[in-house]
């Protein structure tokens, strides 16, 4: 490439383009190794057996009855989770956004809390309530009914816990759509002679439908790929889903990588298809109701029913909070007898996980290291990519978007398996670094999308004026754009930290002796320690996550008030 400066100091175009080509090539190379390679490895493993290309194994795998069962279970669990999360999420969102339900301001932030918590701990705590014989609800109701009514170790149990934990997704999407909807659209319906109910059914809901549907697909995809909850609640009752089956193929001796790869590919293609459907839905029906202005739509007067609304919302929160309180009680007892006894009150379980149990201590330390370093690296990578995507005119940027967003469609267990296949014979395998890398890649879409919207909110003229003041592109970014997005980046860092602390699926595929993460340690402890000990560990993780939630809220409200000033 010719580098020539004219007498007047002009730089020829090739050099200008040259920098960009190197940057783009580096990004593509990085994404190829971290995103494409693991997924390609899974697909490759699925169709290539020892003797070459073969579909015989695929046929064999899919004719196994256990896989048919697991597929049915996966679809049923996901569908039930969507029904529960969808009805709860839409109802609560409508109550908060459009009704005069009392205590809305209190309910709104609380409704989002399950979003940040670990569903594995949720599953653990629901065991305390609804395990077949020992669950509190069963021990109370059995004398009355003559039988134990609840069995959390079932398709219903798994779907129930997932539905509770994914209701905030639907809630968030629907709330956003309802709050950004121009009130005039509904008022126009009323002025055209429609009743309140007709307005809700004919105008409000259709306008929110893309958001609700899209959230439901997201819940379906996530439920289909989820690993931790089916592992905790399904395995004891011999209820397998595709994800737990994939894990079994690898964890049980002799491991069958080919079968795991075939199932992973099937699961991956399924989630890709659904995600594509979700994107098509959002693209096809982008109504111009979202203006970014904070409309205050008029609320519907529910009369006395507003207390029913508050009751519904409180009930949802109880379903989330009560099991955790039960878990807290369990963790404070030296042995769990099915009910709380003051005589058995102890902190020994906390002492055990914090100071004695090697796996627990290591899990906590490992997760803190991975999450702190990983979130920092993820934020840095997201910021760099966002700046390249939003603030340069480099060629082939759309490809970067697609590749970076691809992991959003990949269930953690599949991504973890891909990393296992791709990196098992490298020195990275068996280190915290590989687990961290898998986390970063899996949540790159989250980091990038959030960072991009922060960067988009900064007017281009702000960095263009820096360029006109003599700053290079890099100087304009570091001295103008980065300082302006920094406060928002802290929130993204915390969100990723929370996500990494509770991660289960990829860790399960990649951990080795010594690199257990917090969630892995929790699952291990559940196998060999009494209930109280795993309860204590679960409570500790929940407190850590709640602390982060409080910080996130604190930061975002501080940012909003400083913007208002």
């Amino acid at each position: 490439m010719s580098v020539a400066s004219t007498a007047s100091g002009s730089v020829r175009l090739p050099l200008f383009r040259g920098h960009g080509v190197i940057a783009v090539a580096t990004i593509y190379a990085g994404l190829a190794v971290t995103v494409v390679l693991p997924l390609a490895a899974v697909l490759f493993q699925a169709v290539v057996a020892d003797e070459g290309l073969s579909f015989a194994k695929i046929r064999e795998v899919f004719s196994s009855p256990s896989i048919v069962d697991a597929t049915v279970n996966t679809v049923v669990v996901s569908a039930l989770a969507v029904v529960l999360a969808g009805s709860v999420g839409v109802t609560l969102a409508w109550l908060v956004a459009r009704s005069n339900m009392p205590l809305k301001r209190v309910f709104d932030p609380l409704n989002m809390i399950p979003f940040y918590l670990s569903s594995v701990v949720g599953a653990l705590s629901w065991q305390v309530i609804a395990a077949p014989r020992t669950g509190m609800a069963n021990t109370w109701l059995e004398p009355l009914l003559g039988y134990a009514p609840f069995n959390i170790y079932s398709v219903w149990g798994i779907a129930f816990v997932l539905g509770l934990f994914y209701a905030p997704y639907v809630y968030l999407f629907t709330l956003g759509s309802l709050q950004s909807m121009d009130a005039a659209l509904e008022e126009a319906a009323r002025m055209s002679g429609a009743s309140k109910l007709q307005t809700a059914v004919r105008v409000t809901l259709p306008l929110s439908a893309p958001a609700i549907l899209s959230a439901c697909i997201l819940v379906f995809v996530t439920s289909a790929g989820i690993f931790g909850v089916p592992l905790v609640l399904g395995v004891p009752g011999r209820v397998h889903t595709l994800s737990t089956l994939i894990y079994r193929y690898i964890a049980e001796y002799p491991s069958d990588f080919a079968a795991a790869a075939i199932l992973s590919s099937a699961l991956f293609l399924f989630t890709v298809a659904l995600t594509a459907l979700q994107m098509a839905l959002l693209r096809g029906r982008r109504f111009t109701t979202v203006t970014g202005k904070g409309y205050r739509p008029r609320t519907v007067d529910l009369g006395a029913w507003r207390w029913v609304g508050a009751g519904i919302n409180a009930l949802y929160l109880l379903f989330v909070i009560v099991p955790f309180l039960a878990l807290l009680l369990v963790s404070l007892q030296d042995a769990w007898t099915g009910s709380f006894e003051w005589a058995r009150l102890t902190l020994a379980n906390y002492h055990q996980v914090l100071f004695v149990d090697v796996t627990a201590k290591r899990g906590l330390m490992n997760s803190l290291v991975i999450s702190t370093v990983g979130a920092t690296l993820a934020v840095a990578v997201s910021l760099l990519l966002a700046l390249v995507l939003q603030r340069t005119r480099l060629p082939a940027r759309q490809g970067i978007v697609w590749l970076s967003m691809l992991p959003v469609t990949v269930p953690g267990i599949v991504l973890g398996f891909g990393f296992l296949v791709a990196f098992v014979s490298t020195p990275l395998y068996g280190t915290l670094w590989l687990i961290m890398l898998a986390y970063i890649v899996h949540y790159l879409p989250t980091g990038l999308r959030n960072t991009e919207s922060l960067v988009q909110a900064i007017s281009r003229e702000l960095d263009e004026s820096a360029r006109m003041s003599g700053a290079t592109w890099w100087e304009a970014m570091t001295r103008v754009v980065v300082p302006l997005v920094a406060p928002g980046m802290v929130s993204i860092w915390l969100l990723l930290f929370v996500t990494f602390i509770r991660e289960v699926s990829a860790s399960m595929m990649l951990f080795t002796y010594g690199t257990e993460t917090m969630s892995i340690a929790l699952i291990r402890i559940m196998e060999y320690e009494p209930y109280g000990v795993s309860g204590a560990f679960g409570v500790l993780q929940t407190l850590l996550l709640l602390g982060c939630v409080a910080l996130i809220r604190q930061l975002s409200s501080a940012r909003q008030s400083s913007q208002a000033a």
């Binding site: 007047s8 820096a466 003041s469």
Partner: protein
């Protein structure tokens, strides 16, 4: 320092935002790119700034080539030494006023003392001497404008670009800034290129005006020339010519004088403004200003050239004049009349327009 733009073109995919624009800005003068939104004026300005990479053409600032597609030259914006005031002012909210204004000096590695001294001096000059340490986020619109101006001028660029700098100010403030800008330019001697869609702003600020339309240069000249002698129907309409009518060339007199047949026997004499001579029977467009139309009671002057009978259809009192809509044969003519002799709706009038005030264009020009 002069600025030369030759054959400038910029396309975005299939959209041709600028297609072959040529102009020269003489040192120390002010040129305004005027046109409606989407005419390519801002793209042209941003190409000069280096914020857009043109598709073709050549741009020189002084004797330095900053862009040339044939030679493969593109100078990054930070190396062009051009100042720019943005439409949104683009004040960095995380810095103080001094931090904003001193940034160009700091980034070029000037010693701290010099940065401080020159920053304070330029702030004094734009009338913000006491705001040096104020956080920039706490400024009013007018103050932000001055900070943006100070920042664009502090490193003493020979060329300063202004992207609709006055459009976000209220009317009074705009008036004052306009004057101050002219005083500053006289004092510092920079070459200024403005972009605006506001004809008043263009007329009052500029030494020369360049009217742009659909990515092309429509007309270039002094404000008086462009205003009084629009070269195309587009320019006429854009500069507020309220009466623009389509017709046919009826006959051609000498020295570029024509008569345009507007239908129903209404003929208006006008000056032929197209470069090629008119042909009898071809389609043409005629334009004249509302304030050049004399409105009189019917019968006061004998019918003759450019006198048309009509009826007052609407009259609106606008303070210094009355705005009339007059129904005259096939035409609906806008006119302005004095407030002391008002007509009312339904009055029979006749209107008179001097042929020198009527501009006729080839119909293909009527964009």
């Amino acid at each position: 320092m002069p600025v030369h733009v030759r054959g400038l073109a910029k396309t975005y995919g299939a959209v041709r935002a600028v297609q072959g624009v040529d102009f020269t800005v003489a040192p120390g003068t002010t040129v305004t790119l005027l046109g409606p939104s989407g005419c390519g004026k801002t793209t042209t300005l941003r190409c000069i700034a280096g914020l857009e990479v043109p598709t073709a053409g050549r741009i020189t600032v002084g004797d330095r080539v900053v862009y040339d597609d044939a030679e493969g030259i593109f100078v990054e914006p930070e190396r062009r030494n051009i100042g720019m005031v943005f439409q949104s002012y683009a004040i960095w909210p995380h810095m103080t006023v001094g931090g904003n204004v001193g940034f160009p000096l700091k980034i070029s590695g000037r010693p701290k003392a010099e940065v401080e001294e020159r920053t304070r001096a330029i702030l004094q000059l734009v009338g913000l001497g006491d705001l040096h340490d104020r956080p920039a986020a706490a400024l009013s619109g007018g103050q932000q404008q001055r900070v943006a101006l100070a920042r664009a001028l502090v490193h003493e660029p020979q060329v300063v670009l202004f992207d609709e700098p006055l459009s976000n100010l209220d009317a009074n403030l705009r008036e004052r800034m306009r004057t101050e800008l002219q005083l500053l330019q006289a004092r510092l001697g920079f070459t200024a290129i403005f972009v605006t869609h506001d004809q008043q702003e263009a007329l009052s600020l500029s030494d020369r005006i360049i009217v742009m339309n659909r990515g092309r240069l429509e007309q270039e000249g002094t404000p008086q020339d462009v205003f009084q002698n629009p070269a195309t129907a587009f320019t006429a309409r854009f500069l507020g010519y309220a009466n623009v009518f389509a017709g046919e060339v009826a006959d051609i007199a000498d020295a570029g004088k024509v008569r345009i047949d507007l239908g129903d026997g209404v003929l208006l004499a006008a000056r032929w403004r197209a470069s090629e001579p008119a042909r009898k029977g071809e389609r043409g467009t005629i334009a004249f200003r509302a304030d050049r139309v004399a409105v009189e009671p019917r019968g006061t002057v004998p019918p003759g050239d450019n006198v048309i009978a009509g009826d007052i259809e609407a009259a609106a009192f606008l303070g210094t004049f009355i705005d009339y809509t007059i129904h005259a044969g096939p035409l609906q003519i806008k006119a302005e009349g004095p407030v002391d002799k008002p007509f009312v709706r339904g009055d029979a009038v006749q209107i008179r327009i001097s042929p020198a005030q009527c501009h006729a264009f080839r119909a293909a020009d009527a964009a």
